[in-house]
Amino acid sequence: MAKTNPHVDVVLIGLGWTNSIMGMEMTDEGLSVLALERGPDQDTVPDFAYPKMADELTYGVRYQLMQRPAKNTLTVRHGVRDLAVPYRSLGSFLPGNGVGGAGTHWNGHTWRPQPQELRLKSYVEETFGADTIPEEMAIQDFGVSYDELEPHFDFFEKVAGIAGKAGNLNGEIQEGGNPFEGWRSDEYPMPPMKRTLNDTLFRDMATEQGLHPFPMPAANASEAYTNPYGMQLAPCNYCGFCERYGCLNYSKSSPQTCVLGALKQRKNFAYRANCEVMKVNLASDGKTATGVSYIDENGDEVIQPADLVIMGAYSLHNVHLLLLSGIGKPYDPISGEGVVGKNYAYQMNGGATLYFKDKEFNPFIGAGANAEVLNDFGVEQIDFGQAGFIGGSYFSAAMTNGQPIRNMPLPKGAPSWGAQWKQAVQETYGHTMTIGSHGSNMSYRDCYLDLDPTYTDDHGRPLMRMTFNWKDNDVRMTQFMKQKIDILSKALKPDDYKLSFKDFNSQYDVRPYQTTHNVGGAIMGTDPTSSVLNRYLQTWDVHNVFVMGASAFPQNIQYNPTGLVGGLTYWAAKAIREQYLPNPGPLVQA
């Protein structure tokens, strides 16, 4: 028989970026707040302390900080009539595990979306005509505007301590920043990171080409910094162990380095690690939640009563939990009815690897968000009618690490083993740089998430099933970017280069790592028949359940999601504090 805990005001599901922020915001209101984290507790000391982190095999290859598929995974298929099989070992994407979540092991690319991306459907219809949108495409507006989110982007950047250069301060274009970005009310809290050789080569070439390069907005500190919560970051030492690792140097912005140290001191906050929420419990009328049920660290079931439930698990897990809890109507791709699981989207990436016989890049000197970037081919720059696709991309020349098991680009035609492989390794290591294209991915009627009919997790619950494949619109986008990157690669005059972009035969492949930017499934919007959440990230059907994270995106933006996720979290927190708590109920009338 399940044990019942004393009541708390707010229960937080997951303790990564979004619920660390929610912990601060809800405790500010004097509420009692309990966070339940599925994975282990972890902090800079002792878990990420030098030298333990500098171990590519354990963290980079064997995924020590990531979710174990043995405990919970999902199944994958390409089409609605196909058999789905489990994602048995990690590859294409890497959900984090433990306190800090993906905010612990990310690289730190921290973007705001373009204003147009938040109202993409309306933007396309108004600018290019409704018939520009292909029949099977399911794009929607977010239901919240850039102007509404701007103060929250700004505050998230100050909490996370982002290093960068503004390109648009209150409408005034700034030298050295991104001239195409949405307006900013303030400069970044820290100056850009130092430039590596690949950065300067790319910057100088792009400037000669008449393009507008600028430094990546980085969640890697460029100087000593104290954030609004009193948390301190140290200057990044370019250790070359960033993505897939916890930061050994208090330099990478993470829930641990930016929020949790302050939050843990609050007496009305507590958290429990190794506690996995099984479902949100609903009152008998199904219109309010009474709390959650979870399995504690001893394997016992516990009922946790709460007045307010805030989901802040990884995007895929939020959707899984909604489906398991019976909150919102599951989406059916055949009838088009229902909403939960709808509009799953990913990210369309590609890139070039350039070899320079006589250049020394020292690739092990790098940081997660050390890169020079272009936004000249972004969503807002492209004539979708003429180009024949909807979407956009940013380009980056990044130098994140030179860890040799995984980062050993070899020239075309080099063998994969034997004496000639060894020779190619020696000739190539340290002499390559890359140009990446990081592109949007639209949503489609038949790309969605639901419960798998066959496979179960280690608690016997159905796994979630992902139905996803690449679509021609997005392949046309990435092929457009390929032509541009081919020109830029040639302009850098490498001894050799190779391009890697998806083509019209490409099917989604779960094996090679692509990105952990899985979005949608619990999307926000303006109408309960087409979205799970209203514009304040409140579920339409159960007013005391809010869902944070990139599961709210109706399609994927061209950028990395964390900046938008952070902004949306503060936006939702403001609505809860100012509107919901004084008068609990739906914040938008359906």
Partner: protein, 236 residues
């Protein structure tokens, strides 16, 4: 409705972090403190834990083909790669401990869906080595390790391309694990049993676990001058 919470997290924190430590060490099959005191093993004296004598002869010969000692730079044997592989078989990787291994299995689906075999990697090795041995006996009259170098290379190439097929294990998957683990053992920190004296890092110019380069970031187009260090503090 405000109240002070009894903070269970402190207890959870200590438990949680203690639980992490064995996970890390089991993963690598080694512990930081034990390895620090011990010099790397001598491959000739090493007694494999997982592989039997026949299997070990195959591993030694195959590693020598995949990363031979010819030309510049160390080979897999000088860098203790076989020891690394033996230790991986006994750790989480060999047992597929982190992988979802519940059925039903559909090994016939497109390779795009990743690993779909019910076999843990150590079972793939065991069956793959045995099947390769039978193939060599049937077609060449001796075991793999006794064949000449060119024939060994030819057989590995056929395994890689799936041109030799086995009944009870995928030849391509067997080769893929073997190649992946060989490169891992070559380039991973010596704490995991291979990369003896960081020889592969010295060969390519990777500084290992130094992990501190602030003063070098802006020194462009100059080869980094310092040799590698390992997790246990060995310097090369």
């Amino acid at each position: 409705m405000s109240s002070e919470l009894k903070n269970a997290s402190r207890r959870g924190f200590i438990k949680g972090s203690l639980m992490m430590i064995p996970a890390v060490t089991v993963g690598g099959g080694v512990s930081l403190t034990a390895a620090a005191a011990e010099p790397p093993a001598n491959l000739d004296d090493y007694q494999p834990t997982f592989f039997d004598a026949d299997e070990w002869r195959f591993i030694l010969a195959a590693c020598d083909r995949l990363i031979p000692s010819d030309g510049e730079g160390p080979g897999a044997l000088e860098t203790n790669v076989p020891i690394f592989i033996d230790q991986q078989m006994e750790g989480k990787f060999g047992h597929a401990a982190d992988w979802y291994m519940k059925g039903p299995f559909h090994p016939g689906v497109s390779p795009l869906f990743g690993y779909q075999s019910p076999l843990a990697p150590r079972e793939v090795y065991r069956k793959g080595i045995a099947a390769t041995g039978r193939y060599c006996q049937d077609n060449h009259g001796k075991g793999f390790a006794a064949l000449d170098v060119d024939t060994q290379t030819q057989i590995l190439t056929q395994l890689e391309k799936g041109e030799i097929e086995f009944d009870d294990v995928s030849s391509g998957q067997f080769f893929a694990f073997l190649l992946q683990n060989t490169k891992e053992g070559y380039f991973a920190d010596p704490i995991h049993g291979g990369n003896k004296h960081m020889a592969s890092w010295k060969f390519i110019g990777f500084p290992g676990a130094r992990a501190s380069y602030l003063e070098w970031v802006e020194q462009h187009n100059k080869a980094y001058p310092l040799g590698p260090v390992s997790l246990t503090g060995e310097r090369g």
